[in-house]
């Protein structure tokens, strides 16, 4: 079984991002970049399927500028077999990403496609669902458990009310939630091995996909700052303030 995994390069989750002074975008110069945490979980899941003898080949795909080759090397270090970068400017919108991934899927014919549920920069939470629609595949989003057997994937999903389990026939699209697994640390020998694994570069033109967007970003501004509050000395004082000052309890 072949597994395709989409990985995005994003600002590291520990970085507190700042908005550019011109309010056009967030500051990306000299900011630490990493693999999107949900994508790391996606790669880890694919690797575990391979270790169980279910998956035979893992192909990692990333869309963006040259920097995302670094992200692909991380995926290869975790255990992906080969990688494909689609060279575009950064910040291509989700629909275009989904179209590009759909073209890759048409040539690779994977049985399972795993994406993160959400990129922590755009916070879109839509690419996997769009990809599934474009390929007319079933989807299981926000996965916290994936069991592949008998030509289908049984997936437990984290939903607002609790957990839901769906069975989707393969090929299918799965998007990862936080509890699916805990990604391994990449050992040094695997970093060395990753450097030797194949990494192809393609262009949107080769895939026949336009990355033009119908959505314009008018501005990017900092959020309203919360006024810092006060420290109270005791529970009694806290209750008194909540009753008489904030008036949020009776």
């Amino acid at each position: 079984m072949k597994v395709l995994v989409a990985v995005k390069r994003v600002v590291d989750y520990n970085v507190k991002v700042r908005v550019q002074a011109d309010h056009k975008a967030v500051e990306l110069a000299n900011v630490k970049m990493s693999i999107n945490p949900f994508c790391e979980i996606a790669v880890e899941e694919a690797v575990r399927l391979k270790e169980k003898g279910i998956a035979t080949e893992i192909v990692a795909v990333s869309i963006g500028s040259k920097g995302c080759q670094e992200t692909l090397r991380t995926a290869l270090g975790l255990g992906a077999d080969r990688a494909v970068q689609i060279e575009t400017e950064d910040g291509v919108d989700s629909l275009a990403v989904a179209k590009l991934l759909a073209e890759v899927a048409k040539t690779e014919s994977p049985d399972l496609i795993i994406l993160g549920k959400q990129a922590i920069d755009s916070d879109n939470n839509q690419t996997g669902q769009m990809l599934a629609a474009l390929l007319d595949m079933p989807q299981a989003t926000f996965a916290s458990e994936v069991v592949v057997e008998n030509g289908e994937a049984q997936v437990t999903r984290e939903i607002d009310g609790g957990l839901q389990t769906l069975a989707v026939s393969l090929p299918a699209v799965v998007t990862t939630d936080l509890r699916l697994n805990e990604p391994r640390f990449i050992k040094l020998p695997n970093i060395m091995k990753a450097k030797k694994k194949p990494l192809d570069v393609k262009t949107p033109e080769e895939l026949g996909v336009s990355t033009a967007s119908n959505v314009n970003v008018i501005s990017v501004t900092p959020p309203a700052e919360r006024q810092g509050g006060i420290k109270v000395g005791s529970v009694a004082e806290l209750v008194e303030k909540l009753k008489n000052e904030a008036k949020v309890i009776a």
Partner: protein
């Protein structure tokens, strides 16, 4: 302009997030149709027809829609989409699961988690865990949007009298099948609809310890929430997670107990009206946004709080 909203419900009750989405639609302007897709959900359609600002309720009631699977519901929405300028759904796990499929099938972008309507084509949404706020303008012929409930005060659930239209389309879902579910049962208010929330973090130490929050929550009529760390550690189920990748809440009062205040947690609760933090580490970042901070051991402060209420 004409707007189609996909109602959030569980086949028995219309969920409040629908009313917030209706409020967003009202700000965009135009006729609003509310689509109820489910099975044996006639009562939901009746509730929907009373909501303020709805012109028509479209009811697709069939066993194939019982679990609102994304595959067939998205196709149904696309079949109905002709003539609508906007298609909206609440930014719940149901809306987030299904609406991007609609967008892709219509070959348009989706705007996720919109918190403000500037005009019929310009919207505001948080990015980077709410550390930046983007204003975006869409030139797509149909604007497909999920609405973050905390950005909009709900319209009234009563007073409307929308026309009820029964749909006949039956689209089966042959590639995806419901197997089972484990839904949290609780007498407490729903997290996203609660006026007061008491949340616990890793500092609670265990699932058993977490129960000390119940006493406070009971006295306040509050919902109970949690940080990711508390969910990951298995103290509480996943549906309690508040944050960038969990639920977004904005109650009148949010009490964070044993939560450090990571940006991913703040993303889900920093629009609360009043924030209280109880933490033994006076340097914890949560204190920077708390209106009232109490530096204390939670195992002493929480029981004391319960008896003081």
């Amino acid at each position: 302009m004409s707007i189609l909203i996909i109602a959030e419900h569980d086949n028995a009750n219309l969920k409040p997030a629908t009313l917030n989405t209706l409020a967003a639609a009202t700000q965009i302007g135009g006729d609003v149709d509310l689509l109820v897709v489910g099975a044996n959900c006639q009562t939901v359609a009746e509730q929907a027809s009373k909501a303020e600002g709805v012109s028509r309720v479209l009811l697709a009631d069939n066993s194939v829609y019982e679990y609102q699977l994304a595959e067939n519901v998205s196709k149904l929405v696309v079949e109905l989409s002709e003539g609508y300028s906007h298609i909206l759904a609440p930014a719940t796990t149901t809306g987030k699961n299904m609406l991007p499929r609609v967008a892709a099938l219509l070959d348009v972008a989706q705007l996720s988690d919109v918190i403000k309507v500037e005009s019929a084509d310009t919207f505001v949404r948080p990015i980077y865990a709410g550390n930046a706020i983007a204003t975006v303008q869409s030139n797509d012929t149909v604007k497909v949007i999920t609405i973050r409930a905390t950005g909009f005060d709900p319209v009234s659930a009563e007073g409307g009298s929308a026309e009820l239209v029964t749909l006949s389309q039956v689209i089966a879902s042959d590639k995806s099948r419901f197997v089972g579910e484990e839904l949290a049962e609780s007498d407490r208010p729903e997290l996203t609809a609660a006026n007061i929330i008491v949340s616990g973090g890793r500092g609670m130490g265990s699932g058993d310890n977490f129960k000390i929050l119940d006493g406070v929550a009971d006295k306040l009529g509050a919902a109970v929430g949690a940080s990711r760390a508390a969910v990951d550690a298995g103290f509480v189920p996943n549906d309690l997670q508040v944050g960038q990748t969990g639920k977004t809440v904005a109650p009148d009062l949010y009490v964070a107990v044993g939560i450090s205040g990571a940006i991913q947690h703040l993303a889900g609760m920093k629009d609360s009206k009043v924030i209280v933090a109880i933490n033994k580490d006076e340097e914890a970042p949560i204190f920077q946004i708390a209106d009232y901070g109490l530096v204390a051991d939670l195992f002493e402060a929480v029981p004391e709080l319960e008896s003081a209420l």
